[in-house]
């Protein structure tokens, strides 16, 4: 019991005897209600409460049954019954007496009777019928108070079939001289409209009259009806726009009586109501919207007082402005307003700002940009609600490029609050939705971490109700997905679906026939577009589901048809076919098979495990292998002390990871609109700045910058895809580049190589000496040696195969002919486009040329973050300037080709950017024999150097990735020693140069490096290296989600270091 109450209770007798206390009413200390209240305040346990209330109910029962009970006592009894019901104990025997009290009591008793009725009964209760006559009588009473209370109870609850009985009387009240009666009549009609709209259709004109009532209260009451009507059918009420605008203008202008003010703000809730109505009216209607621009602007302007209620109005106003047809000037002001909210130190306003932002970004995602840093801060806010609201906001701006980070943040949040019903439910759904949209959009090119995380999320939970609900939700949504068209769903998503269904279908078994999931899976199996890998997941799931006879029959059928598939995929799991025997026998056993040997049963178990664990092996390396934490410790964690040292005292920041913050897809520096508050990038309080960094002053800025940088980086990853580079494209991971160059005019080649890319069909140019046409250019071009720009997995860049036959030199090896290697003083580097100049690139390779040729062709590869750019240079070897050059570039299947010509007297330059395309090679067999070795699927070995891309991650992300990867490898490598560099730095630099790795960080004697694969089977997959100098060798530890990747990377590291 609260101290306060205790103290007051001791003074209770005196308090209760205070008859003069008008508000407190007249209670005798010995009154039954007084005793009950005293009893309630003294309660210490649920048990006591139960005893007290049971006793009370008994006493009430006794009293109401007594014929001697007066209405005055009945009133008190009803309040006691209200208490019992409030504490959760039904007092149904008193309902009838409540009605009786309403019928027979004098005013205050009557009112309590009505009150008890409205608290005890619900709208469908038949008891209400008993009230109709009383209500009718009271409506016709000459006592205004009685009319009033009758109207009040009618607008709270009334049996809808009995509306006609009182409707005429209520209608009549619309013209009553007293405003309170008119107002309550309008509210009663509103109730009728809610429960039986047809009954009040004929009095719509009377609603209009109420809207124009001279009393603001009556007008306000009618707005409830209009909000409802307009919400349901805005078209029919457009003519009211003018009236609504006028009313709002009058309210805002302070035309209402002063007692409508709340803290000097005129009728704020009325303003909010009107703004909502205007939003419905102006939505998607320019003409109507234009009528309200002025008043909206005035509302914004007037609501400048520093009080919560003005902010509530502003919030509504902003919502309306963003709902109606846009007017840029208003939008700007509204955005500014949101900015003030978001930046406010008042937590409630910040919340409202985030909510407003969440609303408006659905209209224009770019509005989030000015607040990037605030949003990032809110994401780490100590208040869960703020965090949650921020996630909601992020959810709205999720696009394919930032989905990874956002989902990660959501999962993070989810893990923190795993005991929280609503949060897990909400975020689970949010994550789920995101997963579905992402999976179905970009599933195939997505990093496997995302589905892994998701599956882990599903699998990890304890078996409580919430997890069960989340799983059931997943199962249900996936079943409905499978029931639809599955052809468009990415394979990886189908795999996730299979796993989830296999694991958790049992949750929905009661409500559907057990075979339905099985049949869906079987259908999936039969579909042509389903890949073999997916089929194996599906089969795994089906195995898990073989528990009912229906399923077994289906499984047997599937067994027969997919024997071949099992044969083809079993070798990866189990070299003997015993697994299949086990499965078939299991199916038989569950169905009708009479006998199964213990041996078989044993085997069964093992095999089933082997099958079902195969997906686990891929998807849930951490959660299901119950390995100890120590063996998964990240090296970055182990060296945490050195990391923090670096954070706080190092003056040399490793900025590689941060660089792209300012890049094309990175942190988006927004254009500041005039008058807008500057984003607090610099003012940001730096949490790490404070006491931890005592050293010299010069070190301070750097340590202060670090968290800021991290935030910006987070911002860059969260807000990527917004702004001017907005695109709906999928997460762009490098995929294979297929590029063929063919010279069309040599007909004999066209049957050899599919013509995809024809850089030079005719090359006409006029030289200064007036020669109109230079013959033979094409020949010279053709005469060039082949260059494998990007090789691997059957991919050829520039290969004129006929020449490989005619030119023995090129057949011998794939290197350019010696003649072409003739040193040229082509200052090609200087002609690199600025945006490409800083990036890793291969050397310039001449494609074709001749000593006396006037034109030369050379190329190089540039590794961009998300694409491989192929640059083709055409240079003029002559002294004479080229005046004109006709170029025709044909490119059928490459998705993008941009070319620019830089015509310069000396060196005409042409380059072609080829972002990663996803075209397929249809024609493997037609390739020249010299390329055979390239077709081998040994991409990890053969083409590693070409397919390795730097992976830019932060140290933190690196740590997370490290923990989630399952395949690792350790080895010692030799160190590179140079004179002016530390051995570690030198070695890593050498590796970086040769293999396009990204050095994430170097801390003391340790370095962390990351890369990912551009093409091939492990496409897009990362591989992480952790290096530590140990004596005079380098201990490297590699990790990747792909088994072969560490191995081949290690091999190439060794090779690269040996070459050095």
């Amino acid at each position: 019991m609260s101290d306060v109450v205790e103290k007051t209770l001791s003074a209770l007798p005196s308090l209760l005897s205070l008859d003069s206390q008008a508000g407190a009413g007249k209670l005798s200390p010995s009154s039954k209600l007084g005793n009950l209240i005293k009893g309630i305040t003294e309660l210490t346990s649920k048990h006591e409460e139960e005893r007290l209330i049971k006793k009370e109910l008994e006493s009430i029962k006794e009293q109401v049954a007594s014929p001697n009970t007066t209405m005055r006592q009945m009133k008190e009894i009803m309040v006691r019954a209200i208490y019992c019901e409030m504490l959760g104990y039904q007092a149904s025997f008193s309902y009838i007496h409540a009605i009786k009290l309403a019928q027979q009591g004098s005013v205050l008793e009557k009112r309590v009777g009505y009150l008890a009725v409205s608290l005890f009964l619900n709208e469908t209760d038949e008891f209400l019928l008993l009230l109709v006559n009383t209500v009718l009588k009271d409506l016709q009473s000459t006592n205004l108070i009685e009319v009033c209370m009758a109207l009040t109870v009618v607008s709270q609850m009334f049996p809808k079939d009995m509306i006609p009985a009182i409707l005429p009387v209520v209608e009549e009240k619309l013209t009553h001289p007293k405003e309170i009666i008119r107002r309550k009549a309008v509210l009663a009609l509103y109730k009728f409209y809610l429960i039986a709209p047809n009954q009040v259709q004929h009095i719509h004109s009377k609603f209009r009259k109420a809207l124009c009532d001279k009393d603001p209260g009556v007008m306000t009451a009618s707005l409830h009806i209009y909000l409802q009507l307009i919400k349901e059918n805005p078209e029919s009420y457009k003519d009211l726009t003018g009236s609504m605008v006028t009313i709002l203008r009058q309210v805002v202008g302070g035309k209402l009586p002063l007692d409508f003010n709340y803290h000097s703000v005129p009728a704020p809730w009325l303003q909010i109501q009107l703004l909502r109505i205007l939003a419905y009216l102006g939505k998607e209607d320019q003409g109507t919207s234009e009528m309200m621009y002025d008043v909206l602007e005035e509302s914004l302007r007037r609501a400048e007082m520093n009080h919560n209620i003005t902010y509530a109005i502003l919030f509504e106003c902003v919502k309306t402005i963003y709902t109606v047809h846009p007017k840029s000037q208003l939008l700007e002001k509204a955005a500014e307003c949101i900015g003030n909210f978001v930046l406010s130190p008042k937590i409630n306003l910040k919340y409202l700002g985030l909510k407003a932002l969440t609303y408006v970004v659905q209209q224009d995602a770019n509005l989030a940009l000015p607040h990037q840093m605030t949003i990032i801060e809110c994401l780490d806010h100590s208040d869960v609600i703020i965090k949650r609201e921020t996630l909601e906001l992020l959810f709205r701006i999720t696009n394919a490029q930032n989905v990874t980070v956002i989902v990660e943040k959501m999962l993070e949040f989810l893990r923190l609050t795993c005991d929280d019903y609503s949060t897990i439910d909400l975020v689970g759904k949010v994550a789920e939705l995101t997963m579905n949209s992402v999976f179905s959009l970009g599933g195939d090119v997505m990093q496997p971490d995302i589905p892994n995380n998701f599956l882990r999320l599903l699998a990890e939970g304890v078996d409580n109700v919430e997890d069960r609900q989340l799983r059931l939700f997943a199962v249900d949504s996936y079943v409905s997905l499978l029931q639809g068209e599955t052809a468009k769903l990415p394979q990886r998503f189908l795999q996730v679906i299979s796993w989830v269904l296999g694991e958790y279908s049992y949750l929905r078994e009661e409500e559907s026939d057990p075979g339905s999931v099985m049949r869906l899976l079987a259908r999936l199996l039969d579909q042509r577009h389903t890949s073999t890998e997916t089929r194996s997941w599906v089969l795994g799931a089906m195995t898990k589901l073989c528990s009912s006879p229906v399923s077994v029959a289906l499984a047997r059928d599937v067994c027969e048809r997919y024997f071949w598939l099992w044969c083809s995929f079993i070798p990866q799991v189990d070299s003997s076919l015993s697994f299949l025997d086990g499965y078939v026998s299991e199916a038989l056993a569950a169905g009708a098979a009479p006998y199964k040997s213990p041996h078989q049963r044993q085997e069964d178990l093992v095999q089933e495990k082997a099958l079902s664990l195969e997906p686990y092996g891929l998807s849930l390396p951490v959660s299901l292998s119950s390995c100890s934490i120590t063996d998964r410790r990240s090296p970055t964690l182990l060296s945490m002390s050195s990391v923090s040292q670096c954070y706080f005292s190092s003056t040399t920041l490793k900025l590689e990871g941060v660089k792209r913050v300012w890049g094309k897809d990175g942190y988006l520096a927004q254009q500041q609109s005039a008058g807008e508050t500057p984003t607090p990038l610099v003012e940001l309080p730096s949490p790490l700045l404070s006491p931890q960094s005592p050293p010299s002053q010069t070190q301070k800025p750097s340590s202060g910058l670090e968290p800021d940088q991290e935030k910006r980086q987070l911002a860059s990853s969260l807000f990527v895809g917004l702004g001017s580079h907005n695109s709906v494209c999928l997460v762009r991971f490098p995929s294979t580049v297929w590029l063929f160059i063919k010279h069309c005019q040599s007909a004999n080649q066209s049957n050899v190589v599919k013509a995809l890319f024809k850089p030079l069909r005719t090359l006409d140019h006029t030289t200064s000496n007036g020669n109109p046409h230079v013959e033979g250019t094409e020949q010279r071009v053709e005469a060039g040696g082949p260059l494998s720009l990007i090789r691997g997995n059957g991919m050829v860049a520039v290969v004129p195969p006929t020449h490989t036959q005619t030119d023995p030199q090129t057949q011998q090896d794939l290197h350019p002919a010696p003649a072409l290697e003739r040193p040229r003083d082509l200052p090609l580097t200087s002609h690199l486009p600025a945006e490409l100049s800083g990036l890793a690139r291969s050397e310039f390779t001449p494609l074709c040329s001749d000593q006396d040729s006037s034109l030369a062709l050379s190329a190089c590869r540039v590794y961009k973050e998300d694409a491989l750019v192929l640059l083709v240079f055409i240079s003029n070897n002559n002294d004479s300037a080229l005046h004109q050059m006709a170029l025709q570039l044909t490119c059928k299947e490459l998705e993008v080709y941009i070319f620019q010509t830089g015509l310069n007297n000396k060196v005409p330059l042409f380059f072609s950017e080829i972002p990663v395309g996803r075209s397929r090679n249809q024609d493997r067999n037609t390739r020249g024999s010299s390329n055979r070795d390239l077709e081998k699927p040994r991409i990890f070995c053969e083409n590693f150097r070409n397919s390795c891309m730097p992976l830019t991650v932060s140290t933190g992300d690196y740590g997370k990735m490290w923990l989630s990867f399952s395949h690792d490898l350790k080895q010692n490598l030799q160190l590179v020693t140079t004179e002016h560099q530390e051995p570690l730095t030198a070695t890593l630099d050498a590796l970086k140069g040769k293999l396009h790795l990204h050095v994430v960080d170097i801390i003391g004697s340790e370095g962390i490096v990351a890369c990912r694969l551009l093409q091939g089977p492990g496409q897009g997959q990362p591989c992480l290296l952790h290096c530590r100098v140990h004596a005079d060798s380098l201990a490297v530890w590699l990790r990747s989600p792909v088994p072969e990747l560490p191995d081949s990377l290690l091999y190439h590291c060794q090779k690269a270091l040996t070459e050095t």
């Binding site: 019991m1 609260s2 306060v4 109450v5 103290k7 007051t8 209770l9 209770l12 003069s20 206390q21 008008a22 508000g23 407190a24 009413g25 209240i37 309630i40 305040t41 309040v79 409030m86 504490l87 959760g88 004098s106 005013v107 205050l108 009112r111 009150l115 409205s118 608290l119 108070i145 009040t152 607008s155 709270q156 309170i180 107002r183 509210l187 509103y190 306000t220 409830h224 007692d259 409508f260 709340y262 809730w269 009325l270 919560n308 209620i309 509530a312 919030f315 509504e316 937590i347 409630n348 306003l349 910040k350 919340y351 208040d383 609600i385 703020i386 019903y421 609503s422 439910d425 909400l426």
Partner: protein
Amino acid sequence: MIKFLLMVNKQGQTRLSKYYEQVDIEKRPSLETDVVKRCLSRKKEECSFVEYKDFRLVYRQYAALFIVVGISDTENELSIYELVHNFVEVLDKYFSRVKSKLFFLSSQSELDIMFNLDKVHIIIDEIIQNGHIVETNKNRILAPLLALDKMAEAH
């Protein structure tokens, strides 16, 4: 839309409850316990809005009493937050007529509400109906109750 209004003390005991959406009587106590737990666990510097299942809670503390309002997602939280204050000001106006200090800062507010449960309900009925705000003008909210009091005195 407003779904319910609760008045609870610091110990989480319900002192008044009003529902605008049908909730079974048996389920109310556990819902209230849940709601109160959620609001009481909030720190002062945290915002006054909490998510709860598919709706939101707006809460405000006055001395030993909490007023919690459950609202739908589309409602304007801050306007409800101020509505609570308006309600409290009305109670203040009604109960402190014969008292010198503000009612709601007095230690008796909890008991006053308990002893006048019916009247507080009558006040709420004037402010909120069917989950909508129907009156915010303090004089008009109190008018019917004052008239009732007057008539009861005359009796």
